[in-house]
Symmetry: C3
Subunit: 139 residues, 3 copies
Amino acid sequence: MPGKTSIIVHSGEMDKIYSALIIGSGSLSMGMEVSMYFTFFGLLRLKKDGLDKGSLSKMNMLGLGRWMVKRRMRAAGVEELHKLMSDFRELGGRIIACEMTMEVMGITRSQLREDLIDEYGAVGTYVNEAKDSQITLFI
Amino acid sequence: MPGKTSIIVHSGEMDKIYSALIIGSGSLSMGMEVSMYFTFFGLLRLKKDGLDKGSLSKMNMLGLGRWMVKRRMRAAGVEELHKLMSDFRELGGRIIACEMTMEVMGITRSQLREDLIDEYGAVGTYVNEAKDSQITLFI
Amino acid sequence: MPGKTSIIVHSGEMDKIYSALIIGSGSLSMGMEVSMYFTFFGLLRLKKDGLDKGSLSKMNMLGLGRWMVKRRMRAAGVEELHKLMSDFRELGGRIIACEMTMEVMGITRSQLREDLIDEYGAVGTYVNEAKDSQITLFI
């Protein structure tokens, strides 16, 4: 039984979104089920321009320029965020958007990338996913 | 068997404390046992003025003013941190304070909200909670 | 059966590395298996000068000076990062270095503390560790 991975994406930092999607797709590749619950700053990444605005600022802090990071990522076979997200969903991964964050931030469904979102839910939705999961992460 | 959730609260960021308490109370509502282990910056939130000092700075960075965030949180039924914390404990959630952080930071029990704390413990206390948990998170 | 703990060390913040190592060694002391997967900013801590450069900046933000933190840590029996890392490995803990981060950052094995690293791996290595773990954390 390959099991299940449930990830809360609370952070909006680009490097964290990368980690989340890489772990998510990695779990899917090994036959696991995966759901990612986007909340707080993570949810903002699901806005229509959310993945573009991705600042590489923290990456830059590593002493490499943005251009260099991009070039090396390409060489290492690491995809752009857009591509990682659609790969994740093509592999069968599910994305849940946090309705509480939407209410507090005043975000409507039409402002979100509805094509990427499988479900709109609250904390109960997350707990239901996570309680049967072998891997639970807060990112 | 509804299971158990164990959360390490390492961060002192207000948005992270919110997430932790919402997940904690959500798990309790679904019949799970929950313990939250407050350590490092998280422990400072258990100081007598720790929940008041909560800066909404990061929330503000989302482009909303503090007043707007508060108003929308009320509309969405999201409680203030004080209320969330007491709700969590009324639902049966347990709060553990990290003794190592207390020693390193020179914090005494009388400086902490002793009314909120169920137990004072070390890493062994946490591991004992977490090894039987279905949901384990580091926040 | 004491079980297993799998920790992703994504952050490079000194306080987070401390937490990770304390939880790792705590789990080992209670008879669990432990692996820590160092990636992104965490991996940079495995560079030859990575543990030295550790800024105590965040610790300082707690209102204590660096010197005071060091003195109190000694009094509380909390070791320096170097010592914590070697203690962790002597207790049987395993350290995995993320090859993707190495490629993207252009880091070679000879630039890393090879004496501390048990394995070089990718996300599949992590998922294999984590899917049989009782405690899974993203730090």
